[in-house]
C-alpha cells in the first residue's frame, strides 16, 4: 500500500443557499480544491462523491455521472463513483478515494461531498434524514432522528450522570468556534441559557442541541505521496483510515451509550497510524447532536467512557484546551449538508495541519483526526492525518 496525501482542499460556504443549486455547489467546491492543489484536469484519475440522498432531496440519482459532467470532465470519460453511508457518505467517499490511490489503481483523485437540503420543506428534509435510521422498526413507530439521539442522551445521563448543561456547553463551544470560521453557517456565538431554554425537539435535546439543515459542498484532492512534490510543499499525509459498521437500529446494539462502530473504526485507524488517542492534536468529530460529541470524545479514546460530559465542563476540548474538538464549529455551527460533512471535516484538519486555520489555529497541530458517523451510529469512518515536517 502506497502512502497518500491531501494536496488541495476547497469548500463552499455552508448555509441555506437559496441561490445555489446542487450542481453549482459541487462545481464550486471541486474547482476550489483543484486550484488549491495545483493539478491539471487531465491528471485526475477518478472522482469520488459522497451524497446521502440526492434522490430524495433533489430527485436526482446517478450522482457520479452528474458530478463528472458538472466538473467538465465528462469528455475525458473519467470514472466517477458515488458513495453512500448516510451522514458518513463524505467520510466514506474520502476513504474509498484514499484506498484507490493507496492500492495503486489511481495516482490522483478528487473526492467531493455534497448535499442540497433546502430544495424540499423542513418536514420532508427531516423525513429524508430519518431514512438513515431503521425505517421498518424505528421510524415507522414514531421515532425520529433527534429522538434516537435523545434516547442515547437519556441513557448516558442515567448511567454516567451527564447533565443537560454539559450537553449545552458543547453547543456553546462549537458556536464560539464557528464564529471564527468564514465557511460556517452560524457565525455568532450563543449563550448557555439560550441553549437550555430553546424549544424542545426530543427531550432532553432542544433546538440548539441539534445541527441544522444545510446546503454545501467540500472537495479535496488526493495524490500518491511519491508524486506530491510536483504540486505542493505542504502535503498532509493520511496515516490512518478505519471504517466499521454496527446494527442499524439503536435498539439492536449491545450498549446504548457507546458507538462501537466508532471504537472499531478508530482502533483500526490508530493501529495503522501507530499512534494513541493522546497523540491527536486536533479533531473534527461528528456532532450531529450535542450528545454525539460527548459520545465521540469517549469512543475515540480522548477520555474514559462516561467522562465526556466532564470533559466539556472542564474545557478539555475548547480551542485552547488539551484536545481541541470541532475547531470548525462542528456540524452544529458550521452546518451539516450531510454528504459534504465528512469531506469538510478533512478540509478543516488539513487547514489546521497546514497552519492555515487563521483565528481557529491550534498551535503546533501536527496530527489531526476526522470522525464521521452514519445515522444513529450504524457506520463510522475515522481518518488520521499528519502534517509533513518542513
Amino acid at each position: 500500500m502506497r502512502e497518500v496525501a491531501v494536496i488541495g482542499v476547497g469548500l463552499t460556504e455552508f448555509g441555506e443557499l437559496w441561490d445555489k443549486s446542487f450542481r453549482q455547489l459541487i462545481a464550486e467546491a471541486g474547482s476550489k480544491a483543484i486550484f488549491d492543489s495545483g493539478i491539471g484536469a487531465r491528471e485526475i484519475d477518478a472522482l469520488y462523491v459522497g451524497s446521502m440522498s440526492a434522490g430524495r432531496f433533489i430527485g436526482q440519482e446517478h450522482v457520479g455521472a452528474l458530478v463528472a459532467d458538472q466538473a467538465g470532465f465528462s469528455h475525458m470519460h473519467i470514472p466517477a463513483i458515488r458513495v453512500e453511508s448516510a451522514c458518513a457518505s463524505g467520510g466514506l467517499a474520502f476513504r474509498q478515494g484514499y484506498l484507490s490511490v493507496a492500492s495503486g489503481i489511481n495516482d490522483i483523485v478528487v473526492v467531493g461531498g455534497i448535499e442540497k437540503m433546502t430544495d424540499v420543506t423542513g418536514n420532508a428534509a427531516s423525513d429524508i434524514l430519518a431514512t438513515s435510521m431503521d425505517q421498518e422498526w424505528e421510524t415507522f413507530f414514531g421515532a425520529t432522528y433527534a429522538g434516537i439521539y435523545a434516547m442515547i442522551a437519556n441513557r448516558h445521563m442515567h448511567e454516567y450522570g451527564t447533565t443537560r448543561e454539559q450537553l449545552a456547553q458543547v453547543a456553546v463551544k462549537n458556536h464560539a468556534n464557528g464564529a471564527l470560521n468564514p465557511y460556517a453557517q452560524f457565525k455568532r456565538p450563543i449563550e448557555l441559557k439560550s441553549v437550555l431554554n430553546a424549544p424542545m425537539v426530543a427531550s432532553p435535546l432542544g433546538m440548539f442541541d441539534c445541527s441544522p439543515l444545510s446546503d454545501g459542498a467540500a472537495a479535496v484532492v488526493l495524490c500518491s505521496m511519491d508524486k506530491v512534490k510536483k504540486y505542493t510543499d505542504k502535503p498532509v499525509k493520511i496515516i490512518g483510515s478505519g471504517q466499521a459498521s454496527d446494527m442499524l437500529p439503536l435498539h439492536g446494539r449491545d450498549s446504548l451509550c457507546t458507538f462501537e462502530a466508532t471504537v472499531y473504526a478508530a482502533k483500526a485507524a490508530y493501529k495503522q497510524a501507530g499512534i494513541q488517542p493522546k497523540d491527536v492534536d486536533v479533531a473534527e468529530v461528528h456532532d450531529c447532536f450535542t450528545i454525539a460529541e460527548i459520545l465521540a470524545v469517549e469512543d475515540l479514546g480522548f477520555v474514559k467512557k462516561g467522562d465526556g460530559g466532564k470533559a466539556i465542563e472542564n474545557k478539555i476540548t475548547t480551542l485552547d484546551g488539551q484536545i481541541p474538538v470541532n475547531t470548525s464549529g462542528g456540524l452544529k455551527a458550521k452546518g451539516h449538508p450531510v454528504g459534504a460533512t465528512g469531506v469538510a471535516q478533512i478540509a478543516e484538519i488539513v487547514f489546521q495541519l497546514r497552519n492555515g486555520a487563521d483565528k481557529r489555529q491550534v498551535k503546533d497541530a501536527r496530527i489531526g483526526l476526522a470522525h464521521n458517523i452514519g445515522g444513529g451510529g450504524a457506520s463510522c469512518v475515522v481518518h488520521i492525518l499528519e502534517a509533513m515536517k518542513k
Binding site: G142, G147, A202
Partner: protein, 136 residues
Amino acid sequence: MTDAAVPRFWREIPQRYNLIANQCGVCKKVYFPPRESCPYCRRKSMDKMKTIKLSGKGEVVTYTIIYDAPEQFEGQSPYPIAIIKLDEGPKITAQIVDCDNKDVKIGMKVQSTFRKIQEDGSVGAIYYGYKFKSVK
C-alpha cells in the same frame, strides 16, 4: 409516507400484531424481528430457527419525549418513544401510551397493546401494531 408500499408493511403484520419472533435452535438467542439465521451461529443455525410468540412484557431501558413529530404523528405530540427490553431478550423501539409523559421512567415495566400506528393520509391504508403501556 405518501407512496407507501402496502405489501412492505403487510408482510410484517405477524410481528406488529402478535410480536412473532424467532429463536436460534443452537444458542437459543431470541430475535425480533425474526432473522433468517443467527448472526452468532450462522450456518449452523440455518433451518434451525424456531418461530415463537413473545409475551409483550418488558422494561424501559431508555426513552425520550418527542416534541417535533413527523407529519403522521403530529396530532399525538408530545409523545414518549422508548427502547424496551422484552423479557425474552430482544430490545424494541415503540411508543408508550396510557402514561403521563412526566411519569415515563427508565426501569418502568410495560406490556404491549394493540393500537393504530399510522395512516397513509386520509385515503391510504391504516397500519396497526404494538405500543406499550405501563403496568403496576
